[in-house]
């Protein structure tokens, strides 16, 4: 299997301040990778760079997967919750790739949509307006949409924030099912326990990569301490970064 993503001396940031600094590496297809690190470590920024929302300040990202095969769940969805639409219709937009502008939704599609809704534990909620959902139910609904997208690469930015244990367990099971189907999943997570239990690989990021590899080897106390030590806030007085300083990967 080839690499789904390759980072070459990647620097991403805002206003010339780097949030991801000189990242090198590759993500093979079928990987189940957790991205961890302290606040401000650049984790969300990395995902935004992969999706294409944020252009790199330096270096580049090579993607072995076309853009329409990437599914992205941002940290805080821009969804207008007062919009008059129900769960079924919102989840059905996950079929966009097949239906495009005009394609209809046939019987077979309806069945798939309902199955997706049931898979996330929201059976019976099809006709509910989205404004009446709780936070957890909202997140489940968005997972159902992701399900329908059938993407090769799935990017999740802090998908379990403020969710109860039961919901988290259900959604993690879904992620593992996806990975079992051969899909690559990158998830930004804070819960180290969860990462240790379910994610075989981890990238520990503190602007610069601290460790990248098998989870037990990366999430060591020493690494975690080093990550915390790295500066969180950006430095107004920083000088311009000299190129090609020959960093070790």
């Amino acid at each position: 299997m080839g690499d789904v993503l390759a980072f070459r001396d990647l620097t991403l940031g805002y206003d010339r301040h780097p949030a991801v600094h000189h990242l090198d590496g590759a993500v093979p297809e079928g990987a189940l990778l957790a991205v961890c690190g302290p606040n401000g470590a650049g984790k969300s920024t990395l995902l935004k760079g992969i999706v294409g929302i944020l252009p790199p300040l330096a270096g580049r990202i090579d993607s072995g997967v076309p853009a329409r095969e990437i599914a992205y769940l941002p940290q805080a969805a821009e969804i207008d919750r007062s919009f008059p639409i129900d769960v079924f219709d919102l989840v059905s937009t996950g079929l966009w790739r097949r239906t495009r502008l005009f394609g209809g939704i046939g019987r077979a599609d309806r069945v798939r949509i309902e199955a997706a809704i049931a898979a996330v534990g929201l059976a019976g909620f099809e006709a509910r307006p989205i404004g009446t959902l709780s936070g957890g139910q909202m997140q489940r609904m968005l997972f159902a949409r992701l399900l329908l997208q059938e993407a090769r690469l799935i990017l999740l930015d802090e998908p379990f924030t403020a969710l109860d244990a039961g919901t988290v367990a259900d959604l993690v099971a879904l992620i593992e099912r996806w990975n079992g189907e051969g899909r690559t999943v990158l998830a930004v997570l804070h819960d180290m326990e969860l990462v240790a239990q379910h994610f075989p690989e981890t990238l520990l990021l503190a602007r610069e990569p601290v460790g990248w590899g098998a989870t037990p080897e990366v999430l060591t106390p020493a690494n975690l301490a080093e990550a915390r030590r790295m500066c969180e806030a950006w430095d107004e007085g920083a000088a311009a970064c000299a190129p090609a300083q020959g960093r070790a990967a």
Partner: protein, 288 residues
């Protein structure tokens, strides 16, 4: 009853034309108004009424008091403002309402400048705006054509339009249709507004877009029902308003809008979704 409701239309040609005009307007303005309301563009109509001035001024400078030249000019200016503001809002951090405000103010100032250059004191904006009682064949054709174009485009772009209003981030991630859809919608808004101004005056054109949509919101949470109800309220207000103007002598434009306003007030008070009075009446809660 016949005298009250049917006779005015049976007896007078101008009333029949006005009827066709308001029905066509309601059909086109209803859906556009709902989408505008959902996208928080409710005040854009008023801004647009001023934004078209430099276009009308150029038309006036070129061809005198020729209504078609001025309307065409107004249309071009309207497109420039709406599409410019839309493009800026998408490309930068600026939100759409601020971008539109910036563009329309500049446009208005430009228009005032152009008009004063000519030295004549004709109030262009006033001359540009028509009245529903004076619909000749060409103007009727214009309204019907605009409504037809609107319905066709909306039907074609309904899915991306809804998604773009609901979850623009998701649409951006799965399709490149977001920006063109957005701009097409803005173009539709301008078309409906400028055509409406030319045929029926600002009050009627903007009012028939926003009031029925606002009223319908209080009766349903479902998008298709919302659009249908808005169209119904718009057309109904048009017919009733014409009858009120006929029997009471009130000016036609304000009469129609006040009827629509009455529908809105009733909706605020009695609407089943979020209306004021139903909240005051205690009802037993459900089991689940």
């Amino acid at each position: 009853m016949y005298d009250l409701l049917i006779a005015p239309f049976a007896e007078f040609d101008f009333m029949r034309r006005a009827l066709v005009g308001v029905l066509a307007l309601g059909l086109g303005a209803g859906p556009v108004g709902v989408l505008m309301m959902l996208r928080r563009m409710s005040l854009a109509g008023d801004a647009m009424a001023h934004a078209i001035l430099p276009g009308a001024a150029v038309g006036f400078l070129a061809a005198g008091l020729n209504l078609w030249a001025m309307t065409a000019g107004g249309l071009i200016a309207g497109f420039a403002v709406a599409l410019g503001a839309g493009a800026v809002a998408r490309a930068t951090q600026m939100k759409e309402d601020a971008a539109l405000a910036a563009f329309y103010l500049v446009s208005l100032a430009l228009g005032v400048l152009l008009v004063s250059l000519r030295g004549s004191n004709v109030d262009l904006l006033h001359v540009l705006f028509g009245t529903v009682l004076a619909l000749d064949d060409a103007t009727l054709l214009l309204i019907v054509a605009i409504t037809t174009i609107t319905l066709v485009v909306l039907a074609a772009l309904w899915r991306p339009l809804v998604l773009e209003s609901l979850d623009p981030g998701f649409l951006r991630s799965v399709s490149r249709a977001g920006a063109p859809t957005h701009l097409a919608f803005l173009a539709l808004v301008v078309l409906n507004l400028v055509g409406g101004f030319h045929a029926l005056g600002t009050l009627l054109a903007v009012g028939m877009m926003m009031l029925p949509a606002a009223a319908a919101r209080f009766w349903t949470r479902e998008l298709t029902a919302l659009v249908a109800l808005a169209v119904l309220i718009a057309c109904g207000s048009g017919v009733l308003g014409l009858l009120v103007s006929y029997h009471s002598g009130a000016p036609s434009g304000p009469a129609i809008i006040l009827v629509a306003g009455g529908a809105y007030a009733l909706s605020v008070l009695f609407g089943s979704v979020g209306g004021l009075l139903p909240r005051l009446v205690p009802r037993r809660h459900l089991e689940a």
